[in-house]
Amino acid sequence: MATQNPLDGDVQKRRKQAVKERLKFGNLPLRHRLGAYGFVMLGLLPVILQPSELLNFTYVLFLMMFAISWDVVSGYTGQLSFGHAFFFALGGYGTAVITTQHNMPIFVGIAGATLLAAIGGVLIGVPALRLDGPYLSLVTLIAPLLLFQMFVLFSEGLPLLAPQGLGGTGGLTVQPPQLVSIGDGAFITVETTMMESLGRYYAAFIALLIVFGVCYAVTRSSAGSVFTAIREDEDAVRSAGLNPAKFKIFAFVLAGAVGGFAAAVWMHVGPFGYPNTENLFGPGKIDLSIEVIVMAILGGMGTIVGAVVGALLFAATTALVGWLDFTIPVLGLEFSALSPLPEFLLAMLTLVFMPEGVVPRNIKDGRKLLARYRGEAPPEPADADGRSASESVVSKYRDEIEEIIGGDNR
């Protein structure tokens, strides 16, 4: 092959051949194979879980999607968002209003909500063009709070858009039509609880595959390279004749659309699909935004896969804390009552001691192990003088903050 010049012979056939070569499962790098196994495991999970456990785990799938949504924009372009619940709320409320107050079918609701959240992405993305790091984080922090106030302000009714109002602090009380449910009015009516939880789980799983697929594809494409380049050095991107503004807005729109889509599907899959401020913002109004960040950081920023793993870790910690019901001697309260303190503590420890996250760390260690196993010299890290995602976000921020407060010019 290598001796032929590229235009010799049957180019079509050779191209097909090359694609086949690439797609052979055995030829994939180990980490990709492990990832594929992981997804298969996720798909087979209902085999070993009880229906009630399955419902709890369905929520974890949504957490994964939320974390992916954050990672696309913040992990890749380094534009930290502290209010990602803004997109989730837009998606959740959007679909609920479309389906219950305008009586549209479910899929119109989901599509409309995704579009709405994408528009929200533009709203956040446009200030991102003018504002540097910490200022932008502020705008993102305020956005969900403003939205929350909007829900309170228009709790009675918003002409044309939401004739029955947005429910104020309590949220909307009419449940959106369900995709799979025992009750009437669902898209697919089933007979047993088991079937119901199975249906819900797989609906969420399909949504996860869509979200993961889209984000993985985008971030591994040339657009993804530009995102990373923006994180590293915006001027360099400009000098290459690319417009960073376009890509920043695109990143925010993609993140918004993905987050909104996930929240919209969540509303129709349940198990408690009432869009209210409690579950879309979190009981403290910005908890969900924080949890999403924590998950992405745990798994590793700027990897997409890390977001999935991080959500799993976060959920596992939560489950573990809930399961430990011994009594703490001094305070006289049960350990499980301490939730979410242990989860936050874990996040803090990860941030301090392993800022690159679990997935990149394991890939690095795995490479060393593999090399030893094959008897090769330990691999030079591919990015020997490169920096991990979190490191470069950090240095970018440092430059911006120093610019703002007029620190030493290095």
Binding site: I142, G284, K285, I286, L338, L341, V352, Y397, I401, I405
Partner: protein
């Protein structure tokens, strides 16, 4: 509130409180370049300490003691946050940002558990009485309390200004905020200055928390982000005034206080806009003039 005089008075009092709320935040940003998202939690700590010290379910001491205890506890938490965590990651701004975010919520949840599960007080409505709760000289109690807030606010701001301009330590704080390298060249120990700054900021936050909870008739574990949302307020004020400028923060506090009060008083259905008006003003400012009014000058 009828008439323009009433509105101006209300605005003046509330702005004085806002100034105390924001000043700790400004200090930390000015010196370390750290946007401290845990600031709201420090404020909450002050309110909860006052509740523990002075409410009937706690030690039942006078509220003045509670105010002192809240201030001290705020200082302890501020110093503890810096010494326990921030010190080790000071060189990594993003990590610090996210860490302060998580620490803030950690503290808030811890307070919630403390109130709900250990003290059996509803964490959403903890009793904190105003510092002055009886009228004298023919003036009502709430007006007197507002006056106390106003006076103490200016006394504290004056003291801080004096401290940073006329004492060696204070001038060292300004030096570090202007240039880390320059400060270390003339022999200033930046580590020590950072501890002092965080302690001061925590003390201001604790003090503000007690006053705010007293004025609202009680605190809650979510008071950092419930209207008037001191955490967001601090951000808004600091951005308006210019990051790291003490004078700017005071001016920003008054702008926000007046803007909010006048919106509520003179715009039809204004009371519904209470939470939104300052945020909207902040957004406009961010887009139009992100460097603020007094961008980057040291305190004077």
């Amino acid at each position: 509130m009828a008439g323009i005089t009433g509105a101006i008075l209300t605005a003046t009092f509330i702005s004085a409180l806002y100034a105390i709320i924001a000043i700790g935040f400004t200090l930390i940003f000015g010196v370390g370049g750290v946007l401290n998202f845990a600031h709201g939690a420090f404020i909450t700590v002050g309110a909860f300490t006052a509740m523990i010290v002075s409410s009937s379910s706690g030690l039942d001491l006078p509220i003045a003691v509670g105010l002192l205890a809240g201030t001290l506890m705020g200082a302890v938490i501020g110093a503890g946050t810096y010494l326990g965590v921030i010190r080790y990651v000071r060189k990594r701004p993003v990590t610090v940002l996210i860490l302060t975010f998580v620490i803030g919520f950690f503290i808030m949840y811890a307070l919630r558990i403390l109130a709900n599960d250990i003290m059996n007080v509803n964490a959403l409505q903890i009793p904190v009485s105003p510092v002055i709760n009886e009228g004298r000289f023919g003036i009502g109690a709430s007006t007197l309390n507002n006056l106390f807030i106003f006076v103490s606010s200016w006394v504290l701001i004056g003291a801080l200004m004096w401290f940073v301009n006329y004492t060696r330590t204070g001038r060292a704080i300004i030096a570090v905020s202007q240039s880390d390298k320059g400060a270390s060249l003339v022999g200033i120990n930046a580590e020590k200055i950072n501890v002092i700054t965080w302690t001061l900021a925590g003390a201001f936050a604790g003090f503000a928390g007690v006053l705010l909870a007293g004025r609202l008739g009680g605190g809650s574990w979510l008071m950092a982000i419930d209207p008037p949302a001191p955490l967001v307020l601090s951000f808004a004020i600091v951005i308006l005034g210019g990051l790291g400028s003490i004078k700017g923060s005071v001016v920003g506090a008054y702008i926000i206080g007046f803007f909010e009060t006048f919106t509520v008083s003179f715009v039809p259905n204004g009371s519904q806009l209470a939470g939104i008006s300052s945020l909207a003003l902040l957004l406009v400012f961010l887009i139009v003039k992100p460097e603020g009014l007094f961008g980057r000058e040291a305190a004077e």
